[in-house]
Amino acid sequence: METDRDHAHNERDLVLLQPVIATRRPFYYLALFFLGFTSIAFFAWLWQLKQGLGVTGLNVPVYWGFYITNFVFFIGISHAGTLISAILRLCHAEWRRSITRAAEVITVLVLFFGVGSVIMDLGRPERALNVLLHPNFHSPLLWDVCSITVYLTASTIYLYLPLIPDIAILRDHGAKPAWLYRRLAIGWCASEKQKRVLNRAISVMAVLVIPIAVSVHTVVSWVFAMTVQPMWHSSIFGPYFVVGAIFSGIASLLIVMALIRRIYLLQDYLKPIHFNNLGLLLLVMALLWFYFTFAEFITTFYGSDPSHLVVFYSKLSGRYAVPFWTMVVTCFIIPVGILARRKTRTITGCVIASISVNIGMWLERFTIVVPTLSQPRLPWAKASYSPTWVEVAITIGFGATFMFLYMLFTKFFPIVSIWEVQEGREMAIPEVVERVKSYFPGEVLPSA
């Protein structure tokens, strides 16, 4: 029952196909720019492969540094997508419709970099498949392997399913390469049956993906928490990491949205309200994050286990005070300062807060990984860790490559879900009306 107005809107939605169809020159420059970093990172990795991990700044006892920080950070960001979009979907938050795709892509892409970071970190990456040949199910790292694999599969499916109708649209618009879209559309013709199947599949995946996502980051936290090392061995780590993950995920999503909005001129689709809503969510997460951080540190402080306190003070006032307090400022003071006020919760405000949060969350990962390692229980040499160019290059390269792949994605698929927006426009409004009405006493409505 499409109205004309809807139809007109639908026609206008085709602007979303624009990035796929037409590519302007700056895109190539930007791509080259990113690829430049990628190639430096690649070279750095080859160097590392040839020489060994000695080319990093790692040492005894700081065996983990940038790579593992990146791993946790990237896996954290991956919660942007799938989790947020799944939660919003399940909550029938209708404003989600134009942002879910952007979020889900982040998830899928960034997961590769999470896994990639671990591969970078391996002394013998060529033996990585030993995790399948000789799995040790007692190892939290193996749990990670499992949960990340499941998560990657699930979120890829979860990305793909809502993509099918859009791919069909692309196919129908003769986007090239046609064979790609033909194949990927797997015969979508928007029949009622297909829609029903698809919607059910998406709902099922949304339900599935939430526990998987929670598990992923819990398990990541367990990599640390399952050891007996001071300030790693903490039961709060699971939820703490999940919250942190969602926190940084939302922040990343906000940044990406702002970029897309700006570059592809999608102001109509990514409106201040989206930023406002996500900003509020970010605010909530900032408060939650602070709560967890506070709980974690206050417990350690009152527990006064000497080995824990050494790490505690190295963060609060010792060698890691700068990253630590920067983290507190960037993760809490700046975002809360900006987002708590209606006036500053603008798009720019949100982006500033998000960048700040991402920096802060990276630092949080860093101050979790490194200080504990550099203050072992037994007094070895006071170890200090500073990364080498290899680690920095690979870290930047990972960021750049992620951006590049993300750009590439927007060149093949619409970054805002066309059909969902359309569907929302067509079906959601009455649905919402009905739903809201159902919240209140009054006439009993016949079921829809």
């Binding site: 991990l53 000695g54 391996l122 990456p125 030993n130 995790v131 190892s139 050891t227 037994l378 007094p379």
Partner: protein, 238 residues
């Protein structure tokens, strides 16, 4: 089945670090170049921890030779994703170099920081290769290595005992560090055998285990330094 263990008498240790060097020569542990040493890349399966406390002039030092303590409940084994480290029935925690993927999770899980990583390909400048022990394989870059309690010596001792048609006796199998200790501060043997020296020492009132509170159940046991007790004719006070 024996349970191999070591007892280190801190009262006798002079912190000379002969154990460190003996271990290096026995187990083909390379010396890293000075630049790498300065970056904390020295590989040493047993090192002496100085453990200095206090302020001038009230100072104390407890130099502690620390090898892998071969926990009965080793935190490192649980975390290895590829089962590259395992505890054998005789209680020796070993590393399978050919399987290790070099993730260094075990090195981080070890509360004693007694697992070492090969940051580079091991280098033996000049003719140092001549001094390599054929009983111990040289580790490639990128894998974790650790104290094996000189397991190759156990195999050799077993073979010799078998050839002589007798049981393995106390003292047949001793790791290089224990063997060399000039002060005789280190003891090695079967903790399960109640008559062995180590078992007797492990029962001593001076005995304590490193980081015992973590529940790792180390099989390297220390004897506290004790104090001089004046002219009362008593032995070392505990």
């Amino acid at each position: 089945m024996p349970r191999w263990g070591m007892v280190i008498d801190l009262a006798k240790c002079t912190a000379c670090q002969a154990c460190t060097v003996a271990c290096q020569t026995e187990n083909n542990v390379p010396c890293v170049p000075p630049k790498e040493a300065a970056r904390g890349r020295i590989i040493s399966w047993i090192s002496v921890l100085p453990q200095i406390e206090g302020e001038y002039p009230r100072l104390s030092m407890r130099p502690t030779p620390l090898p892998c303590v071969h926990c009965d409940n080793p935190p490192c084994i649980r975390v290895c994703p590829v089962q590259a480290t395992a505890i054998n029935p005789e209680g020796v925690v070993r590393q399978i170099y050919a399987r290790c993927i070099g993730c260094r999770y075990c090195t981080n899980a070890c509360p004693y920081t007694r697992r070492m990583f090969n940051w580079y390909k091991p280098e033996f400048p000049g003719e140092f290769t001549e001094a390599l022990n054929p009983d111990v394989s040289v580790r490639p870059k990128g894998v974790v290595e650790k104290c094996t309690l000189c397991h190759h010596r156990l195999q050799k001792a077993r073979d010799e005992a078998r050839a002589a048609k007798r049981e393995l006796a106390e003292g047949d199998y001793v790791p290089a560090c224990v063997e060399i200790c000039p002060a005789g501060a280190m003891y090695f043997g079967d903790l399960e055998d109640h008559n062995s020296t180590v078992a007797a020492l492990a029962r001593s009132r001076r005995a304590f285990k490193p980081l015992e509170e973590l529940g790792t159940h180390p099989k390297v046991i220390y004897l506290a330094q004790g104090e001089w007790s004046g002219g009362d004719g008593q032995g070392p006070r505990t």
